[in-house]
């Protein structure tokens, strides 16, 4: 199913860097990080720059000689996946930087579908130090909260 609309990266939650043709995306709140390869970094950069998904597809179609249907399908899949992982969020309206897509890359080779690799091995760091203590003095919980928290705690 074709996908369109504008998207944005919430920089309070998600940081990213592109290096060696791959984009590393780190979700600060979930403990999950990702690498984007293939055409993924190009799609990511265009979307983060305010281009709509439709504009990105048209840009890729103008740049690469691949079957337009493949480009549209793989781009749509990636965008849906990025949204599901909360790396992108849909923006109502036309987005902040809506405009013509960039010029097609002159030296572009064949189209490589985007690949998103997900890593969860660091999630436990976010579970360290996350919780706190219940004291008779009452801080940080009130007594009722403390009792409720104790009931929720595993034995």
């Amino acid at each position: 199913m074709p996908i369109d609309g504008h998207f944005q990266v919430d920089s309070r939650k998600v940081v990213h860097e592109t290096i060696d043709g791959e984009t590393i995306v780190i979700h600060l709140e979930t403990g999950t990080y990702y690498s984007l390869a293939g055409s993924g970094p190009e799609i990511w950069e265009l979307l983060a720059d305010g281009k709509s998904a439709g504009e990105v597809v048209r840009h890729l179609e103008a740049t690469y000689s691949a079957d337009p249907g493949v480009i549209e399908e793989t781009t749509g899949e990636l965008v849906r996946e990025l949204c599901a992982e909360e790396l992108l969020e849909r923006v109502s309206g036309n987005g902040a930087h809506a405009g013509a897509p960039g010029e097609p890359a002159a030296d572009a080779a064949g189209y490589e579908p985007p690949r998103l690799q997900k890593y969860t091995d660091m999630q436990y760091f976010l579970l360290l130090d996350p919780v706190h203590e219940v004291e008779e003095a009452g801080w940080p919980y009130t007594k009722d909260e403390a009792q409720a928290a104790e009931r929720r705690s595993p034995q």
């Binding site: 860097e17 060696d20 600060l28 709140e29 760091f125 940080p140 705690s153």
Partner: protein, 343 residues
Amino acid sequence: MHAFESAAGTAGLVERDIAVAGMAIRLRFAGDELAPLMRPPLEHLEVAAGGGPEASICVFDGASTGVRIPDFPFSGLDVRQQGLIAGYNGERFRTVYHGDILDPPHYGFNALSMFDAAAATAIFWVESRERVPWWEPVEPFRPALHWVLAAQGRHMVHAAVVANEHGAVLIAGKGWSGKTTTAMACACAGFGFLGDNYAVLSDADDDPIAHTLFANAKLRPGTLDLLPELASGVVVRDVPEDEKLVVDFRHYRPAQLQGSAPVRAVLVPELTGGDETRVEPASARAGLMALAPSTIYQLPNNGGAGLRPMAELVRRVPTYSLKLGRDPRTAPPAIARLLEELG
């Protein structure tokens, strides 16, 4: 701050100035309860008190000073991942609670780290010295240091760092990757030691330079089987199973405790089980993947500000895969050869 000033007024004030990556930070202890415990790993950074520091870290406990901190205007339910307190982590203020609600009836650490960016002041409070877990004095005030350093363009990086006359390598990787063992093998072979777990990069440096932070190394007990010569450096040998051994370089090899060194390479260790250690070129992407996630997730969420300097680092210096052999003593010669080539 009122509680700290009150505690210092009651118990006395102990101040020490340290320089981290060229940044002057004043450690202010209310009383002498926590200073003997928390100061040593930063003692090698101490400098003579000079002009006004660029930031301060105020440290106190409730038990010895008799000062109870004010009730907080937030609920325990506001304490989120990494102990970050919802509503108290914005542009100006940062707040992290340290403790463990899943460990009744003791509940753990019961400490608080706060930072006011506008005042360039951090606070570390703990209920009592007895609450301080073994790991905190090994690398004290990590959230506070992370905040005050980052506010001045200095960035803590999760890596071991060793150096020789040709420069330094950052050894980056997850737990059990061989990072510490390699760094210790290098120290035993005469390399300079800048850190086992953290180093600091500075935006002010024109070229990538690693700066030391903590003088300690934390070892798994099995490290001594591989490098028995480290035994004389271990502070306490008889530790519970869930603790690590601590090597204090201020006493173990003080001449090798090095302040800073130009970074020549990022090494990503990988245990191979072979006879020798080899060094093979790797991508900058591999270097960033080894450095960035563990650094960012181990320190309180700071908006990911540390990612860019780490990316800049791996763009500017090469990354290598360090294929570790069974004997960690084979690593130092391989690293020395690499540094000689790069230096």
